[in-house]
Symmetry: C2
Subunit: 130 residues, 2 copies
C-alpha cells in the first residue's frame, strides 16, 4: 500500500483529478466524474458483487463464481455488473463461455484517495473506524 | 436510516468492518450500511458540498459559506446537506443564525479504507478513472 505522501504525489500527477476533498474543493467536472462511480457503489448488491470479484482468488470472477451469493436472477446480476462496468469499476474479458471480471484497482485507488482525510497517517488507512 | 451515532456503533459492532473489499467479500449487512454512504456521494452537488465543507478553513462551513458556489436555491442546497447528514458524512451544529457543518472524518476514513486496493502497486494510480 502506498503511504500517504506517495498517494498525494501520485494524485498530483493526475491532471485535475483529484486532491483529497478535505484539502481542496472538487471542481464541478471532477464532481460529475467521481459521482458516477460513487453512484454505482451506492447499491448493496453492486458493492457485494464488486467485493466478491475483487477478493476472488486470482482477482477475477465470472457470474458463475458469484451468482450463488445472491437470490437474484441472472439478468438482474448482469444489470448490476453492467452498471459497475460502465462506471469504470470493473472490466470484463470473455474467455470461452464466461466473461471474467476484474476490479479496476486504479479507479478504486482514486476513489479511496479522494475520500481519505488529509491528516490521517498512512497506517490509519487500515485502522478500524474509531 | 440510522443516524451517525447508530452507524458508528453498528460499524464498531461489526468485527472487521470493513476490511478492504479486495481482501474479503462484504457481508450483506456491511454492504447495506456502506451503500447508504456511497449513494449519498453519488451526486455531483453533494460531492462538491462535502468537499467545500471539508476543505473550508477551520474544517467547518455554513450554507452562507458554500451557497455562492452553486446556482441552486437554498432549499435545494439544504436538501443535499440533509442527505449528507443522514448518511453520516457530515454533522451540523447550530450557532446563532447558522448551522455549521463538518465532515465526519471517521466515516470518510472508513469509506476510503474499504475501497483501497491494498495489494496493488502504487504505479497503477496514474490510470484515468473511466
Amino acid at each position: 500500500m502506498p503511504n500517504q505522501e506517495q498517494l498525494l504525489v501520485l494524485l498530483d500527477d493526475q491532471v485535475g483529478c483529484c486532491a483529497p476533498l478535505v484539502r481542496e474543493p472538487l471542481s464541478p467536472a471532477q464532481a460529475v466524474d467521481l459521482s458516477r462511480a460513487f453512484k454505482a457503489l451506492g447499491d448493496p448488491v453492486r458493492l457485494r458483487l464488486l467485493s466478491l470479484i475483487a477478493s476472488h482468488p486470482g482477482g477475477e470472477a465470472c457470474v458463475c463464481d458469484v451468482s450463488a451469493a445472491f437470490d437474484l436472477t441472472g439478468p438482474t446480476i448482469s444489470h448490476h455488473l453492467r452498471v459497475l462496468r460502465e462506471a469504470g469499476l470493473i472490466t470484463g474479458e470473455r474467455r470461452g463461455t464466461w466473461v471474467y471480471y476484474r476490479a479496476e484497482t486504479a479507479a478504486l485507488r482514486q476513489l479511496s484517495a479522494v475520500l481519505v482525510p488529509d491528516e490521517t497517517p498512512a497506517s490509519g488507512i487500515s485502522a478500524p473506524l474509531d
